[in-house]
């Protein structure tokens, strides 16, 4: 039995499908990266797994923790899972922490939500947790308000909160995106260490291939609410099958020569991510894909292409479409440089 097993998770907003049939399994200690541009549905997937979707969004499918389906639970039962079995780290540590509450208390609150203990014990535990996330003077810093801490410190407070009740699964949504480049690596190293110590499963959401390739043995590429490619990280990066993955890889490889990652992303994959609900029917990427044919009006199933899975009628390195000459394969050395 997996620690976390997501089966055919679908999220809808009215008639629009925001996330379409996402499935994955995680064992203790495993790390899965979810990659995609903003609007690809990766954050919504994580929130649906946590059961924290906005009221207007509806999730169907199964989110199994052990043998219990989160989506079938009552709100009260879900509250026990949240922060207990399953914890989440959010992208923006400044706004994700309550500005009017001392950080020690915010951590203690996470403990007391799930464990019977006195206020003093929770405070003591919160201080210990701050020490675990490398605060140098935890007793004093526990009394700080979020605005008195640096961005990296705030995110480490979030991490301390996440591991407060020894969760089996940690979901981290762009945990380093809001941080200075200089502390990103440090943050990732800390997160890797804690996840290993806790023997927790990790779902790491990022738009940054380099982050995921360094942290996760498995990767899932999302576009337009669909999983378009998934598999062993090294294999996916070495030989991407879906044109979108290849595009992502090319941009991050090219951009890694430059200092600015996000600005240069758009010119490399032509067009923009459509708004939710306005993706083309069939393959969501076909409006931006130079290999698209009439066949792509039907969503391709995700199936084995080479050594991993991809959802494409005309996968790279596979049988090319008849009308269009095959795009040049991304050179392996370029793909490698995406890891740095």
């Amino acid at each position: 039995m997996s620690t976390l097993s997501v089966r055919n998770l679908t999220v809808t907003l009215g008639a629009a499908v925001v996330v379409d049939g996402v499935s994955f399994d995680l064992e203790p200690g495993q790390r899965l990266g979810i990659i995609g541009e903003s609007g690809s549905g990766k954050t919504v997937t994580a929130l649906a797994v946590m059961g924290l979707l906005a009221p207007s969004l509806r999730a169907t499918g199964q989110v199994l923790i052990g043998d219990r389906d989160l989506l079938a639970m009552t709100e009260r039962q879900r509250c026990e899972v949240r922060g207990g079995t399953m914890a989440m780290v959010f992208q923006e540590p400044m706004t994700a922490l309550n500005p009017t509450m001392r950080v020690g208390r915010q951590i203690a609150e996470a403990i007391r939500a799930h464990q019977r203990c006195t206020r003093a014990e929770a405070r003591q535990r919160a201080t210990e947790l701050l020490a675990r996330v490398e605060f140098t003077d935890p007793a004093r810093q526990a009394r700080s308000y979020p605005h008195q801490l640096s961005g990296g410190q705030r995110q480490r407070v979030m991490l301390a909160m996440a591991i407060a009740c020894d969760p089996a699964v940690i979901l981290a949504d762009e945990p380093t995106t809001a941080l200075d480049v200089t502390v990103q690596a440090q943050m990732l190293a800390l997160m890797a260490r804690l996840v290993t110590e806790e023997n927790a499963a990790l779902v790491l959401i990022s738009h940054d291939l380099a982050v995921v390739s360094g942290m996760c043995e498995r990767v899932m590429v999302m576009y337009g609410g669909h999983v378009v490619e998934s598999g062993n990280t090294a294999q996916v990066l070495a030989a991407p099958r879906h044109p979108y993955t290849a595009g992502l890889l090319a941009t991050s490889a090219a951009v890694s020569l430059d200092s600015d990652r996000t600005r240069l992303e758009v010119p490399y994959i032509p067009g923009q991510v459509p708004a939710v609900g306005s993706f083309p029917a069939g393959c969501p990427f076909r409006s931006r894909c130079d290999r698209a044919t009439a066949e792509c009006a039907v969503m391709p199933p995700i199936e084995a292409v080479g050594d991993h899975l991809a959802a494409c009628h005309h996968p790279l390195g596979g049988p090319a479409s008849p009308q269009i000459p095959a795009s040049p394969q991304i050179p392996a050395d370029l793909a490698e440089s995406g890891k740095e």
Partner: protein
């Protein structure tokens, strides 16, 4: 230390505002046409007797002298003698305050009792019809003028069911219960509008909390919705509400004047209107500056309260 300095700065601003208000009130009343002595003595009075009374009231002195006398009196606790009744203004005012202060406090209580639950319900159910209904109700509450609401209340509770007095006031010394009863309807009339206005702000600030990242974090920790709202929302939601509350105090006092008139209560508002009618200018001056002082003082306290509510205030530039 910086907290003390900030408070001191606020205090200086308060004093400057009070000074400006006193000058304004004094000048506005001083330039009004018609002399109080003339009004007091009636149209039959001789110019000589009018001049004599004007001198007796001190109204023949230069303006700055009149102003200095007035402010000096206020600062030493001498509000002066009413032009009309010849009684010390303080005695009249303290009797009226026994009506108005409880009226405003009760109105405030009614307002808060309406605003908080109404605002919470309409925020928590913002995307459901019941929430929209509550929102619409509060809009109606805002739209009803205080005097119309007051008259409606009189018709229903005093005329139709004889539950509560329709007006008048029995002093607290005579019968505390009766005094309280005679303030119930006025307080509701006063509180409903304020409550409706305040509920809009309670709703907006709770919605903001519900949409905030830190609320989501609290939910991700496993707190139940109301638990998360109570622990993380109260303080954050109070910050904007307290601001509006300070501004609304002025509205509450104006509302009290109207309500006292509708319910014929012998409060400060009634006293003020009569004083305006009778050109009892010193009394008007005293009441207006008193009301201004209360509003300014409350806003001063609101400013200070931010520091208690929001740790970010004043910690960094």
């Amino acid at each position: 230390m910086s907290a003390l300095l900030q408070a001191l700065r606020r205090l200086l601003i308060l004093i400057a505002s009070l000074f400006a208000a006193s000058v304004l009130v004094f000048l506005v009343l001083a330039v009004l046409p018609g002399s109080p002595a003339q009004v007091i003595l009636g149209t039959q009075a001789t110019p000589a007797s009018v001049a004599a009374l004007t001198a007796k009231l001190g109204l023949d002195k230069p303006l700055w002298q009149q102003y200095a006398d007035w402010v000096g009196g206020l600062l030493t606790g001498h509000l002066g003698i009413s032009y009309i009744s010849g009684q010390p203004i303080w005695a009249q005012l303290s009797a009226a305050l026994q009506v108005t202060v409880p009226l405003i406090l009760m109105g405030l209580a009614v307002g808060v009792l309406i605003a908080v639950p109404l605002g919470m319900i309409s925020a928590l159910r913002a995307d459901r019809p019941s929430g929209a209904l509550v929102s619409a109700l509060s809009q109606v509450g805002i739209a009803i003028p205080t005097f119309v609401g007051g008259i409606l209340l009189i018709i229903v509770f005093a005329v139709t069911v004889h539950l509560l007095p329709s007006g008048g006031f029995v002093t607290w010394q005579q019968s505390p219960v009766q005094a309280f009863r005679s303030l119930i309807l006025p307080a509701i009339a006063l509180g409903v509008v304020e409550g409706a206005i305040l509920s809009r702000f309670v709703r907006a600030s709770i919605l903001e909390v519900l949409r905030s990242d830190y609320y989501r974090t609290a939910r991700a920790k496993g707190l139940r919705p109301l638990q998360a709202l109570r622990r993380h929302g109260t303080r954050n939601a109070l910050i904007p509400v307290v601001t509006v509350f300070g501004l609304e105090m002025a509205g509450l006092i104006v509302g009290a004047i109207v309500v006292e008139n509708v319910f014929t209560l012998p409060g400060v508002g009634t006293m003020l209107l009569q004083a305006v009618d009778n050109r009892d200018l010193l009394l008007v001056q005293d009441v207006v500056i008193g009301v201004s002082a209360v509003v300014l003082l409350l806003n001063f306290l609101v400013d200070l309260s931010y520091r208690l509510l929001d740790p970010r205030v004043g910690s960094r530039p």
